[in-house]
Subunit: 191 residues, 2 copies
DNA sequence: CAAGTCAGTGAACGATCGTTTGGTGACTGG
DNA sequence: CCAGTCACCAAACGATCGTTCACTGACTTG
């Protein structure tokens, strides 16, 4: 008997990567089909079902895959900032969030719209990360106009709104405008 | 020859209203089909094509219909506020915007996602309305922390972000939380 | 009354989708 | 070598979709 975790798991990942590639090309979940993913992965549609129970399982796997990428990007951006500049760390985190949304609009929309924003979902984890960031700011002496929880929600929600409208735009302004918006949001919640 | 603008235009409206009803029930454009609209309107699917060239024309008509409703609701809310309280007028406008998005999530998402946010689109008109509101505030002596254009964009974008996340939530908090968020946004851009 | 116009319809076409099935070929342990 | 296991696939099924077409019946016009 062959080891089911050797080739098996590797192909599962290859399918997810093919799905991610396809979603990036499509720019939306319209057209993200079993047949399309199979074509992108170079296998037969029926083979998908060897690794995923059904389409919703594949989409769920893809979303988990994407959240890992986003979370890693945000952590990396944070750790690239000096420890003694907590506000810069918050800004860097949020800008990494934006960069992901700008680079992969299809993925971003899929994550937001196809995964209920529950109190235990991955999005809430990101917000909590932001809250901790603002709490560190306050402890470091940064004056906030509102409590750190509210500041984090405000910056996060505002950023999401800006990114969502950018996605809906037919004439996307340059990315730096979205990143500047993050700075503007942060400066609004600080004194 | 019968007058083509008698029964004809009336049935066009009935189809649009049936489509609006269906979209409200569905909660999303998934399932908003020619066949479904025809069933909701009590006619045959083929009859739709007597009034709309194709499905995209019907959707476009529905979106226009929705923007009229939203714009009217915002204007009505504004005019219900006293003339000498410009900040309250801005708040009332934005809350009417929220109320529409909360009452008709399917319509709201359709409007945002299926109509490119161009410099001449209906959404920009709403933003412009907000800008004028904040300019009136400034002339009336209200102190803003940022220029009125930026304040309007900030409040509008933040509100959209909050509403969009509410739509994605599986456990929708009560509507007043979203309306409070508008107040919080306004208080952030004022001194 | 006859001719013409037009909204409305039932039935079908072609495409696309998720999913299932039965079989094939490569590889395994004994 | 042989029986067993498993990944993989071609083909098909059933459903749903947008759209087209030939036809009908009611109405208007002359």
């Amino acid at each position: 008997m062959r080891n089911p975790w050797g080739q098996g798991e590797r192909l599962r990942l290859e399918i997810l990567e093919a799905a991610a590639r396809l979603l990036s090309e499509l720019g939306g979940e319209q057209g993200l089909t079993i047949r399309g993913v199979a074509r992108a992965a170079g296998i037969a549609p029926a083979s998908i079902y060897q690794h995923f129970a059904d389409k919703s399982a594949l989409v769920k796997g893809l979303i988990d895959y994407d959240y890992e990428q986003l979370s890693a990007a945000m952590s990396a951006a944070e750790e690239q900032c000096p420890e003694d500049a907590p506000l810069d760390r918050v800004r860097a985190q949020m800008k990494a969030y934006c960069q992901f949304a700008l680079d992969s609009p299809g993925h971003y929309r899929l994550m937001i719209n196809n995964r209920p924003v529950s109190r235990t979902g991955p999005l809430i984890g990101i917000v909590r990360q932001m809250i901790e960031g603002f709490e560190r700011c306050e402890r470091a002496g940064v004056r906030l106009r509102i409590p750190p929880q509210r500041a984090a929600v405000m910056v996060f929600v505002g950023t999401h709104g800006r990114v969502a409208l950018w996605h809906a735009s037919e004439d996307p302004t340059h990315a730096h405008a979205i990143l500047d918006f993050v700075d503007e949001l942060v400066s609004l919640v600080t004194e």
